[in-house]
Amino acid sequence: MIRPAREEDAEVLAHIYNQAMKPGIYATAFVTPVTRENRLVWLRQLCPPFGVWVYVSGSGEVLGWCSLSPFAPRANYPLIAEVSAYVEENHRFGSIGGHLLACMVIEARRRGFRSLVSIVFEKNVVSIAGCFEAGFQPRATLYAAATFDKVHENVSWIQKDLSAPDPPVLRRLLDALRAEEQ
């Protein structure tokens, strides 16, 4: 089940985010671990139309989260959102990431966004492949722009036009999520 994040989720949000900072993961542009308090402030700042959602297992455990946030390089662009999704490290490579991505597409359309952007390390091929399956397209590559663990890394900007038809993989995920909501 996916539901909006609550303040009591702050600790697990921080835990999962910090897992993504480990060497070799290439999933976040921050290298300083975050705290529960940091995530609380962040949750309170992400007002609609932006937001945060969590993936909860059948036993009630939060196994991942996703967010729609302002596009960091131009935070006051009105109808574009930057997507982020993180999955608890023991549950990666399953279907949770896809469900979180589908959740962001559904919520973004409900909230009137025109497009979604992901800013992602080029080395994060799993994330990029998942986004491409959901209809994101490569838009820009900043070569060696980021410095991560003293190594210069390429950063890709990929974008999904929310008015364009969805690819079959995403359509199936959207249908499943909508059925769950009902």
């Binding site: 542009a29 921050f30 290298v31 300083t32 596009f71 960091a72 390089p73 131009r74 006051n76 662009y77 009105p78 109808l79 574009i80 025109r114 497009s115 952007v117 490569p138 838009r139 820009a140 590559t141 900043l142 070569y143 060696a144 722009a145 980021a146 410095t147 991560f148 210069h152 890394e153 900007w157 974008q159 036009d161």
Partner: protein, 177 residues
Amino acid sequence: MNALPIRRQSISIRRLEPRDIGSAAAIYNQAIVSGESTYGPDVISEERLRNELFDAPPQFESYACDGNDDGPVYGWAALARHTHRDIYDTVAELMVFVSAEHRRRGLGRALAEHALSRAPQLGFRVLLLIVQPEPAFLLAWAMRHDFRSAGRLSGVLPVGERWQDILVFERFLEGSR
């Protein structure tokens, strides 16, 4: 701060200072309202611009061009933070704005070239330029100064009735610290 102020014919360039923030914001907002900037559709407050330019690590410098008369600045440039994310400490976004009244005198070029000359000394490895597809002379300037096209985002910036693309250019700096 070495080598400042510099003079280039009648053009004087110095560090932008907090006392300039009012005229710098006015120039920026002129460009925002006329749809020339990529900042976004809403004007920027003096407080926000002050935070962006002065509440940053010291390598992120900004420069002013004025009439050398304690009056408002004619234009300004900045080596600004690309985002606040940890991994971009050695990346700066080049920003240049000149008031409508003082254009076509070479001020923008002088400001940009001054910022370009400072960037390696400040330890930057990479400069970014984020612009609209027009005017063409700006793109030509970027290419002449060794910026390469990194790509574009489609239809993200509202300008009048249109949703404009933004183009991203990237330049690697030689001789950075």
